[in-house]
């Protein structure tokens, strides 16, 4: 399942240069051990009035951040080399504003912002073209068990296409789940673009669940860029108006489409439409808090052991909440992740008292809930990953129950079992162990960069991502013990003679989106949450087709099998069309240079 990758030569060299004989018996620092009262005080500060759920970029997050900076500075942490301060800002697209998109058809029909809503992944600008109706606008990948192509036999090049939202109502079983996966607004935009259309107009049909309603804009903070086509949704009257003059009723056409007959469901519409999209991608600023605590010899220089936790949460709710349609309400995120933040802080204070054999990088991330924004930006912009010996992450560690601590990502380095074992002798947990390093938390950003990771977790609970994740529900004795355990792990890593080797664990197929349609294997490891135009590779699987094709971490795929790739959605879409054994042409950027290679997918190993 795993392939050992080259250990970090740089770090290993430094380590050898600085090698000291590890003492046979090391004395665990029980003096000054973290107490339940200490971590409780930190959790209370992080969930205090005014923090308002600590949403990335919000004043509440800033309040929490000030506390963390003050506490970390008091422990003696220094800023990263080249940085004058512990707070490290990062920029992200916070939201996309529609500044007045418009649709004109046939001169006198004109629809403004009350009837037209730009989709968040639309390109801005004006496009003009003949109108064409394309049914549900769905194009199932060629390899799929069911054939369905709204564009079959249609000439829509440079046209503005009108498509129904959702998918044919009559579909059942496997067919239905196929449609569900390929009928999102993104997928429809990609299908329209691939067919050569200049613009896409979506309408919720009269037979649909929300007839005539505008679609939500589909903003994805982790992929905020444009999808390569102008795309809007319009309300029912605007849609009907575009349909008018075709001599057919939209309701009747939709009924026929729902009956499973796509052949008669696409046809040209009379007239010409002009689509004007004016989107502003509004950038926000989040900030991580990162400091270095000196080693026992007083040194700050890398390699570092890194430990971190995200301090942001969902703010007043929103799409990440499990109560998304409730009124705005503070989501205090006491367990998620004031708990991990408090544990890291407590551990940092303890290391300040009794330093490790190596300097410790202490990090508090923001933007985790929006897609690992802070940790991803940090790994990309602020450090050389080889300067990290390992990264230990704490996310939701405040609900210890039945003495059960989950320790994840053990597969990322062969040193973990022995280190976890030795740390847990005094730690005293009933361990639940997992090898998989692909986790929905910040450790994944480090795993992508080739750093051994470990994630600590005390389990999920009914208050997860709800306003009821409050400070009074935490197990503070347990939280203090988790902090001590993390400290023992870091101490053991610091005492190693050599840098821990990194193992690239193969991602298990069931974690890949839309796995049913993905039988072919390419061995690419996409980097999620980037603003790069194209698909940035976080790595390639050792021995996989991508590696054989010469692709490597850091390459940006811009075209796959003839399909332009602007982001992860394009890439997933393109992947769905490849077949085992059939070579695919891949165009990618490396060091600013455009290159081409051929990749031959294999069966998934």
């Amino acid at each position: 399942m795993t392939d050992s990758l080259t250990p970090f030569f740089r770090a290993a060299r430094r380590l050898r240069a600085a090698a000291v004989a590890a003492p046979l018996v090391f004395v665990a620092p029980f003096a000054g051990a973290q107490t339940a009262d200490e971590v409780r005080a930190d959790v209370l500060a992080l969930t205090a009035p005014g923090t308002n759920g600590r949403a990335v970029g919000s004043p509440g997050a800033a309040q929490a951040r000030r506390y963390l900076i003050a506490e970390l500075a008091a422990a003696g942490a220094q800023p990263l080399p080249g940085r004058g301060q512990l707070g490290i800002p990062f920029s992200f697209v916070e939201r996309v504003d529609d500044r007045g998109s418009m649709l004109r058809a046939g001169g006198h029909r004109r629809f403004g912002s009350d009837q037209v809503r730009a989709l968040a992944f639309s390109e801005s600008g004006e496009v003009r073209g003949e109108l064409h109706f394309v049914g549900y606008g769905i194009r199932l990948p060629e390899g799929a068990e069911v054939r369905y192509d709204s564009y079959a036999g249609q000439e829509v090049r440079d046209k503005v296409v009108l498509a129904l939202r959702y998918f044919p109502d009559g579909a059942e079983g496997d067919e239905r789940s196929l449609f569900q996966r390929h009928s999102g607004l993104r997928a429809k935009a990609i299908a329209a673009r691939e067919a050569g259309a200049a613009g896409l107009v979506i309408v919720s049909g009269p037979r649909s669940p929300n007839p005539g309603e505008l679609a939500p804009d589909g903003f994805d903070i982790a992929a905020p860029g444009g999808q390569g086509i102008a795309a809007v949704s319009v309300d029912g009257p605007a849609g009907e108006s575009l349909f008018a003059g075709s001599g057919r009723e939209l309701e009747a056409v939709q009924r026929s489409l729902d009956g499973g007959d796509p052949l008669d469901g696409s046809f040209p519409l009379p007239g010409v439409a002009t689509l004007t999209v004016d989107l502003e991608r509004v950038r926000g600023t989040g900030a991580n808090v990162v400091g270095i605590l000196p080693a026992a010899d007083g040194g700050f220089a890398p390699p570092w052991i890194a430990i971190g936790a995200h301090y942001d949460h969902l703010g007043m709710g929103g799409s990440g909440s499990l109560n998304p349609h409730g009124p705005p309400e503070v989501h205090p995120g006491a367990d998620d992740n004031a708990s991990g933040t408090a544990a890291v802080l407590a551990m940092a204070r303890q290391v300040a008292e009794t330093p490790l054999a190596r300097p410790l990088l202490v990090a508090f991330w923001s933007g985790e809930e929006s897609g690992l924004l802070g940790s991803t930006a940090f790994v990309r912009d602020e450090i050389v990953p080889a300067e990290l010996l390992a990264y230990v992450n704490l996310d939701m560690v405040g609900r210890l129950e039945d003495n059960r601590l989950t320790v994840q990502a053990l597969g990322s380095s062969p040193v973990w079992p022995r280190i976890v074992e030795r740390a847990n002798v005094p730690g005293g947990f009933d361990l639940a162990l997992g090898d998989d390093p692909y986790l929905p938390t910040d450790s994944s950003a480090f795993n992508s960069a080739g750093v051994p990771t470990l994630n600590l977790f005390t389990g999920t609970h009914p208050d997860y991502h709800r306003p009821t994740d409050t400070a009074d529900r935490l197990n503070y004795e347990g939280l203090a013990r988790v902090a001590r355990f993390a400290g023992l792990v870091a101490r053991r890593v610091a005492d190693l003679d050599e840098a821990p080797a990194f193992v690239r664990v193969e991602r298990s197929p069931d974690q890949t989106p839309a796995r049913a349609s993905m039988t072919a294997y390419t061995g690419t490891i996409p980097e999620y949450a980037t603003e790069v135009e194209g698909l940035l590779l976080g790595g390639v699987m050792a021995g996989g087709p991508a590696e054989a094709a010469g692709l490597a971490k850091g390459d940006v795929i811009v075209e796959f099998g003839g399909t332009p790739v602007l982001n992860i959605y394009d890439y997933m879409n393109a992947l769905a069309g490849v077949r085992i054994g059939e070579p695919v042409t891949v165009v990618y950027r490396r060091d600013g240079e455009r290159r081409t290679t051929t990749l031959t997918p294999t069966p998934r190993p």
């Binding site: 046979l24 090391f26 665990a28 847990n424 361990l431």
Partner: protein, 374 residues
């Protein structure tokens, strides 16, 4: 069938690691292990399996066996500080080892090992090749005749050989004062001229000849304590040194029960009559009961049980989790229990430690029915 049953029952972590999990019988709520066991924690993680953890008299150290030595698929012996989590290998790293024990007198570490067998590396390679072949078999303890008893002296780190008889010498433990060692040996198989049925048994089941022996801590004065046909093994002194507890197999090897005797072998007393494979007994420091493992609930479903010292009552079930539970060893203060368990799922057993509710144990033993009454 008989053969594999017997072989699954040596004392030394003859843990059938291919047993299917999920075989524990249903336990009524009042029979849940949380009656006796609290704050369960996992002590070992590294390597394919670990087991047989025995404490130092002050409870700060443990010796155990584990398959974790790179290139060696067999158990080696390790020492662990229960305070810091430091662990080091004690045994030489090659060959097979089993059954470590710490001296209460000077911290010397006793264990059995085959490392002097020149075929050791070859056997390691064979075992690795077998496991890589993907074939499966029940875990089999082979009573390797090259197994002898050694001691690592704490004073100088020297490894000293204590037995050199032909045959399997293993399953050794110290008396509380550290002056005596009680152990298991099948040397009679090599000492006597075997005929007929016994000669055939020597081929298929060398454990049949195993008996309990004792010797001085320096290996002198080796003396046989039992002489009943069938496998006698797994002896431990009582915490006060007054007697020895061990398990005795029936002659046909189908059933094992817990026995006690005086340190000179006199006055053997049967403690259990449980009609199952009951083995790995260890006396609680209170001298009021014996903890042991038994497959009473099914051929491959081992659980930890306890029974009063005289065996007047029926044994009481302790563990109720899925997977193997056996080889119980109480902490020297009597308030904890270490045992070997497969409760985490996965292929190999590991060592667990929990707080032990001695009062609850006494209460459960008091209310247990008289032996033979059910």
């Amino acid at each position: 069938m008989i053969l594999s049953l017997r072989r699954a029952a040596g004392r030394c972590l003859i843990v059938p690691f291919l047993l299917l999990p999920g075989l524990s019988g249903p336990a009524a709520a009042q029979d849940d292990e949380s009656r006796f066991l609290n704050r369960i924690r996992r002590l070992t993680v590294e390597g394919a399996r670990a087991g047989e953890g025995y404490f130092s008299p002050d409870g700060r150290e443990m010796v155990f066996q584990s398959e974790r030595e790179p290139g060696n698929p067999f158990f080696q012996i390790y020492w662990m500080s229960l305070e810091t989590g430091d662990i080091r290998r004690v045994s030489p790293g090659i060959g097979k080892t089993t059954c470590a024990f710490l001296s209460g007198k000077n911290g010397d570490i006793l264990f059995a090992s085959t490392h002097l067998d020149p075929r050791s590396l070859e056997l390691q390679q064979e075992e690795i090749a077998f496991r890589e072949s993907g074939r499966e078999r029940r875990y089999a303890w082979d009573y390797d005749p090259a197994m002898d008893i050694f001691v690592e002296q704490r004073s100088d780190g020297e490894l000293v050989r204590l037995t050199d008889a032909r045959g399997y010498d293993a399953e050794a433990s110290y008396s509380p004062d550290g002056e005596w060692i009680v152990f298991t040996s099948n040397r009679p198989m090599f000492e006597e001229a075997l005929k007929g049925r016994e000669a055939r048994l020597a081929e298929v089941d060398p454990s049949y000849f195993a008996e309990i022996y004792r010797m001085r801590a320096d290996g002198s004065g080796q003396e046989r304590l039992t002489s009943v046909p069938g496998y006698d093994g797994g002896p431990f002194y009582f915490p006060d040194g007054s007697r020895i507890v061990w398990r005795r197999f029936s002659e046909d090897g189908l059933i094992a029960d817990v026995w006690t005797m005086n340190p000179d072998g006199s006055d053997p007393q049967r403690v259990t009559d449980f009609g199952a494979m009951s083995w790995a007994p260890y006396v609680h420091p209170s001298l009021q009961y014996i903890l042991f493992a038994s497959n009473k609930l099914g051929f491959s479903n081992f659980e930890v049980y306890m029974v009063d010292l005289a065996g007047e009552k029926e044994p009481v079930r302790v563990t109720t989790s899925d997977g193997f539970d056996g080889l119980p060893v109480p902490t020297p203060d009597g308030n904890g229990l270490a045992w070997t368990s497969g409760r985490h799922g996965g292929p190999g057993s590991q060592i667990y430690l929990a707080d032990w509710d001695h009062e609850a144990a006494l209460e459960a033993l008091r209310s247990a029915p008289l032996r033979g009454s059910r």
